[in-house]
Structures are given as C-alpha cells and as structure tokens.
Symmetry: C2
Subunit: 508 residues, 2 copies
C-alpha cells in the first residue's frame, strides 16, 4: 500500500468507479475476442488470439487487485451510508476483489496455459478415443485447481470443492447440493423408467432434409418473437452454440444448423436467446460497474432452460409457432401441434448430455458432479475416471458408453479445467421450474398468450423479477423474492410429472 | 523512475520483450474491436465499444510509457551489440516510446473524446449539408492537434505540421513534400486537360444490374488469385471498405457491393487486398515486437494502390480476368479486354476523392494537404475553410462543389482529427509507380505472367523487397533498396504518360 493522505469516501468512489469501468470494458473486449474466435477468426489467427486474451486478462487481474483499489474499497466500506445500490456494489466488488487478490499471478498464468494445453489435447484425444493421451493434462489441471481452491481457502460451511463452486454459484455448497441431488435422483429414476417403458412417440415427419436458409430464417423469427432485440444484439453461427453479453446493448448469440436435424437449431437458438434476453435486460444504468451482471451461472442457466424447455417444449408454444414453421417447411403441414409437441419431448436413456432430453439431463449432471467432487476430495484418481464414469453411467442412466469419446471425453469442461461448473446446469433447471410456476400464478392467461405468440407478458415478468435486479442480490434471494421459494427440486418434480404424465396419459 | 539495482542488458530485454508483446497484443485486440464496429456490431453496442477502446488504448499508453520500460530501453541501448534486428527494434521502440511519453494522458483522452464528438457531428452535418454545425468540433480538433504537435515538439528540419506527419510517415517533412507536390501539379494539370478534352470511353456494358452474390464470389476469386491467404485472413462487408492486420495470421479486409456499380467492389477488394497481402507477409518471427509492421502509411498505401491500379487497371490483368468475370456475368461476354480496360480507366474532373481516377486523385490530395497545412500554420481559420476548399477545387480540379457535402464535408479524416494523414495517399501513389517499374525490370515476363493469371512472381518480388522487411528500415530506404530510387514523382509521371498516352493514341 502506498502512503496517501486520508481522503473522504468521494475520492474512494472515484477510484472504484474508474477501476470497475475499466474492468467492465476490458471484460467486454475479452468477450468479443472469444466470440470472434468461435465465429469468424481465420484458422491461423489462434496464436495471436491467445496473446491478446492473456494480455487483457492479465491487465484485468492487475486493475482489480491494484493497491489503490484495495485501499479505496476499504475506505468506501468504512464510510458506507446504507444506500442500497452502493452497498450492493461494495459487496459484489469485495467478493470479486478478494477472490482475485488471493490468486498469485503465476498461478493465473499457469492455469491459462494448462487450459489451452488441455483443450488442444482433449480435441485430439476425443477424436482418437484415447483417454490416456488426455490423462496427464487432466491431472495437471486437477492439481492446479486444487491449488487454486487452496489459495481461495475453504468458504464458511464448506470444503475444497466449494471454493471453486463459489466462482460460478456464490454461496452454494456441496452440503446443500448433495441432499437435493439425492432427492432428484430418487424420483427421476422411476419416472425415466416408466416413460421409457412406453412406446416412443412418432417423429417420422422430422426426417428428411430441411433447408439451412429456411431454418436460419425461422430462428431469427423466434429471436424476435421472444423479445431478443436486434438493435442490441445479433445471432451468428458457430460449431458450438454459445452466448455472450458485452453490454446490455451488445449481446451475441450463436446457433448451428443441421439440415437433417431441424430441431437442433430451434432449441439452440431458444436456449441461447434465453441467456441473451437476460443480458439485454440487465440494469443498464449500472453498465460501468459490477451490478450489471447475473449473480450466478445457475440463475443464468435458468433462463436458457426456461425459454428452451418450459416455453419452447410446451404445447402452447407449438400451437403458436408450428404454423409458422410449417409455412417454411410444407412437409410439416399435416402435423398437429399435439403430435409435434410429443415429438420434441421424447425421453430416452442416452450417452451424450448435450443431446439429452430435459428429464434425463439432470442425471448426466449428477454423474459429473459426483466424479469431479471425488477427484477434488482426492478419492478418485484421473486414471480411474473412465471406469468410474462408465459404472455410474450404467447405474444412473442405464447405459454404458462403449467408447470414452461418448463417455468421459464428451464434454469440454474438464479440458478447460472447469471443475465446479456442472452443478449450475441442474440449479438452472430447478430454478427455471420454480420461476415458471410463479409466472403462471402471477400472470393471468400466460399460456393462452404464448399460444397467441405473445411472449411479452412472460418477458416482462422475468425482466422485473430477475433480469433488472442484476447482481444486487444473490441467485437464491432473487428466486425467493420472485416466487416465495428458495432452491428446491419440488417445482421441477411437479413440472415433469404433470407434463410427462399428460403426454403418457397416466400418472407418473 | 524506481530505484533498481544495476542489471545487465538481458534483464532489460526481458522487460522490453514483455512490454512489446503486451502492446502488440493489446493493439490487436483494439483492431478487432474496430473491425467488429464496422462489420457486425449491433447499433446499440456503440457506447460500450467506446469504453472498451478507451480502456485498451489507455492501457497501451501506460504500458509503453511505464518507467520500467524507459529504464530498460536506456539500458538496452547502452549495451547494444550491433545485432541488426535488435538495433532496429531499439530504434523503432525508442520512436514509439518517446512519442507516447511526450503526450500527457489527459490530452490523449481529450483527443479521443473530441474524435468521437467530431465523427458523430460530421455525420449529421454531412447528411444535412451544414458545415456550420461541424465547424466548432473541427475548431476544437485543430486546437487539440496543435497542442499535440507542440507536445511532440518540432522534429529536426521541420515545422509544427511535421510533428503530426511524423506519426504517419516517419522522417517525412513539409519541406520535402511541397516541391514534389508542386512538380506533380505542374505536369498533371496539362495531362488532365488533354485526356478530358478527348471523348469519354464507352462503358455502357457496365450499366444494368450485377447480382450481388456473383460480385461477392468474384471478389473472393480475386483475393485468392493475388495471393491473399484465406487461412490467415478473411473478407467481410462494411459501409466503408478498410483493412486491418491483427497479426500476419489474422488479416481482415472488407469490401462493399453496389448492384449497379460493379467496378466498386472489384477495385475496393483489390485495394484492401493490397494492404492485406502486405500485412500477411510481414516478418512473423517478429510478431511479438515492433518490427512486424509497415514503416509508414505511405508505404502501406503504395501496396493498396499498386494492386488496385498498377495491376488491377492494367490490360494484362483484364486479359486474364475478364473471361472469369464474363463467366459470372454473361452480359460482358462480347466485351474485349481492350474495351474493358478503357472503361476502367476513364479520367474525369470530379468532386469526390474516393470515386476519382488514378490521374486526378493526387490533385484531390494536394487540395487537402494545402488546406490542412494552412490551418496548422494558423493561416486559415475553420470558418474560411469551405470557401478556400471551393476556390482551390476550381483551380486544381476544374470543378466547384455546389454543396459542402460534396466538398469540404466529404471525408471523415478531419472529423477524426486526422491532420497530416492525406499526403500519405500521394506518397503511396508515387512509391507504387517506382516499385512497379522496378518489378517490371527485375522479373522477366512479369506482365505476360499477369495475363496468364499468375500473380505469384509479382507477389514474391514484393514480399522479398518490401513486406518481409517490416519495420527494419524506413519507407524511403526500403523503396531505395528495392529500386535504386528514393521518393520521386518521375516514375508515376512516366507511368501515367505511357498508359494514358497509349489509351489516347497520342503522346501526352
């Protein structure tokens, strides 16, 4: 710390506002670099892109942890006057600052390097179905993440895994997740059993070729319909769909199109658009500080899943949009909304998470959560991971991968060293059901509106209850304030049992 | 300066290498942000984009002028061992560092702000043909640039204008430009007189509609033919064509397509591709330091003009490519290369620089150079600019704008506060003629190769003589080493008189 004359809180806020604006601007720049890398960058741009990202991320870390910022933060906290937004800013900034300050710069760089190595090797290992090739990189990443967790320190009421989980879902703990996940498995297993015992719904009308340009045009129509603002964002194509918000005025989503799998682009677009409308409706008046962000990945994911599944796989939605789709694809003209709805809600025991239905999806997550937790606890070695994966897949999902490429090597997350991320997908699913149930209670005629292609009533409810809050509260607090309920699997259970019971014509 | 223990030059180089790599990476990031702003950014992304660019440019300025860098630079210079590349790096870095260090951070920010204001107001003023609306912004920009020039100080043998010119064309001085420009005007004026007195070549076959997608495909074919590597770059569309090199492995060019003006996209693409092949062939082994760059804007422009005009408006080129173009546009099937060549080389007295032919183009530049020089010398007030423009346009070009939108408001440069930039366009034209004349002497059968669509011999000559040198030498030194001649208008004169004499069938 430098020696400075005592100054009042106004000066402290000036330092903090400037640092936050820079961090925000540099983050936005870094996200654009990543967006471009997945959309338009020519192949030989990769080396320089790595340098560009590292330079910006290094600068970000320096700005956030500068002694002047630490000092100003302490002064502003000491002088806090109870203004709710300012208090929220100080809480969020304290959180970000302390986490960054606990990480040595060398470790930040070592992790960045190991991530790049990890992803490159994972791509080859997956292509060659060769886990042993990937194993040393994963060992290194697990070791670094353990080191990172230890640098953060165990959060209150937690264990080592929680120090990483905290980066994606602040306040969440293994101790809370385990009983919820156990309950989830206990009722999901028999539900999956009963649904998959029944005959598979007919989807023969989805076979054949669906013109890529017409698919693209339909996804743009969907984006507009759900309220994704084209003046403040755009859709492009990428191999793996994703979304990024540089600013509420600049939100990028991507999709991918397969001419023989017309549902892929539709649900990718709805999923990313859910993230997108969240980002576009964050509190723009805080665009230069820490409040203009979602409080957690789980809450963010709740919005992609809400628009993709609770809305996009519902019967009212297809009453509204099937005529629009059939207008572009005359082959669908004879298909009823009910038949289409059944086809987009097929449930099956499958190997690959990203292709799985909304019922079995969470079992894929439980599998990953258990294994990464065991690795961080030191109870599972990387060498034992493929067998552990396959055994547990058999138990949870009823299928056993014949090849690691379709098993333990299927996801990029561990190759990026993302340990602690997977549970947020299930948190998103659970929150989405709780939020949608509350929206149905609060908004008269919500589903009738959807069936008329009116999605504004839902968007407005979410905007008010979730999006505009930004990071003023934590995820569970936002859900509780919006719905009266905190984290639970009961709304998701009711949703699944009601919907799939109706589809099956029998109680589940 | 901080107190540090004396260290050897190796440590100094470590500091410099890291600083240069960061500056290079941050510059690349900043160029991507600018590329995106002109290609894909949604309209409401502009506010955040300004913040992002300012944050990166502020960081760049800090990195380059950090006390540790100044100190390391002095130590490395003191310990210089005569290695040519290292000496060249130290020269270029000293130049960049000293210029940056002379500018107060406040002035950098004030200029950035005034540029944004200037461009926004200029857009409105041009649309409304209202110079008085723009005048106060331009006054502010001229004042700031005078302040900036005074902060730099007058370079040896120069005047205030030279301090700005130095930023685009290091080593160039008004005192050298004035006699060259005077000579240029003295022979151009009668040449233009004689050409425009003759009947205008027929170009009726360029009327009608030329499908945009087919035009786009032809521009991609041109890019590939001249050796622009699609693995290390890409073309997109933008309102104003431009090019940017983030790295030799990542070069972006843009073009624009008008269905009723098929030449526009062709020559835009050739122009930007000329910049593009220069960037792709810079010395990649120096990609993390200051040598992987062109030494001046004039030399850079020489490459866009060489490919656009010396190659792209030549008869051999159209012998090669007209059949390819006619293949896409059957309306052109009966047109001979000779007739097409005449049509793409029409010379006329016109108001707008960017639409002007290669003969009158430099007169547009002389006009701008004289006026901006007078403003910086304090001999012309902004209020008097429109009249001065119109009078001098009449004298130099023989046409007088009826509206400021087609006169003094036509270019964006002054609205961006770019004073001292315009002369580099003419330097580019002069260098391009000198380089192309030397290539014709050095490379046997150069034009016959072009007529066979073989552009590699020319590209290879330029790669070796110009592109691969990077910033190891200054622009004129590169041209002199490549051709035996420094800056002169004589090669350009010979080129114009030979080419347009042949087209006119009479000596000029």
């Amino acid at each position: 710390m430098s020696e400075t004359a005592p100054t009042h809180a106004g000066d402290a806020w000036e330092v903090l506002d400037r640092a936050m604006a820079d961090v925000r601007a540099l983050s936005g720049a870094s996200w654009l670099l990543q967006w471009d890398q997945e959309t338009y960058m020519p192949p030989r741009g990769a080396a320089a892109r790595g340098d560009q990202l590292a330079a910006i991320q290094g600068t970000l870390h320096e700005r956030l942890t500068a002694p002047a910022v630490a000092e100003a933060l302490a002064r502003a906290e000491a002088a806090a006057d109870g203004d709710p937004d300012r208090s929220a800013i100080l809480r969020a900034l304290r959180f970000d600052h302390d986490r960054a300050a606990r990480l040595p710069g060398d470790l930040v760089r070592a992790i960045a390097q190991a991530q790049t190595d990890g992803v490159e090797t994972w791509k080859e290992a997956r292509a060659g179905n060769d886990f042993r090739r990937f194993a040393p990189k994963l060992e290194r990443l697990v070791a670094l993440r353990r080191e990172q967790a230890d640098a953060y320190g165990v959060p209150p009421g937690g264990e080592r895994y929680d120090a990483l989980l905290e980066g994606y879902e602040p306040g969440m703990r293994v101790a809370r997740l385990e009983p919820i996940f156990a309950r989830l498995v206990s009722w999901l297993a028999p539900v999956v059993e009963r649904i998959t015992a029944a005959p598979r719904p007919d989807a023969s009308f989805l076979e054949g070729r669906f013109d890529a340009e017409a698919q693209w045009a339909f996804t743009l129509e969907l984006l507009e319909a759900i309220g994704f603002d084209g003046r403040s964002g755009r859709q492009d194509r990428s191999v793996h769909p994703f979304s990024l918000g540089l600013d509420p005025g600049d939100v990028r989503v991507t999709t991918r199109i397969f001419e023989r799998q017309p549902l892929s682009a539709i649900f990718s677009t709805l999923h990313e658009a859910g993230h997108g409308v969240y980002e576009q409706n964050l509190p723009a008046e805080h665009r230069r500080n820490v409040l203009c962000a979602a409080p957690s990945m789980g809450l963010h994911e709740s919005q992609s899943r809400l628009w993709e599944n609770l809305v996009g796989r519902s019967l009212p939605f297809w009453r509204a949009f099937l005529p629009r789709l059939a207008h572009r694809f005359p082959a669908l003209e004879g298909v009823s909304p009910e038949r289409f709805h059944r086809a987009v809600n097929r449930v099956e025991r499958s190997l690959v998470r990203v292709d799985s239905d909304e019922v079995t999806y969470n079992l894929h997550i439980v599998l990953r959560f258990e294994l990464e937790l065991a690795m961080l606890r030191g109870k599972l070695a990387v060498a034992g991971l493929p067998d552990a994966w396959n055994d547990r897949s058999q138990e949870l999902l009823g299928v056993r991968p014949a090849r690691d490429a379709e098993g333990v090597l299927q996801d990029i997350h561990w190759a990026q060293g993302e340990l602690g991320y997977f549970p947020t997908y299930t948190l998103g699913n659970l929150y989405s059901a709780t939020l949608f149930a509350a929206a149905r209670r609060d908004v008269d005629g919500l589903e009738e509106a959807i069936a008329r292609r009116e999605l504004a009533p839902l968007l407005n409810w979410l905007r008010q209850k979730v999006y505009r809050v930004g990071r003023r509260k934590d995820a569970e607090e936002i859900v509780r304030d919006a719905t009266g309920t905190g984290l639970t699997d009961r709304d998701f259970e009711a949703y699944v049992k009601e919907k799939y019971g109706a589809l099956a014509g029998a109680a589940l």
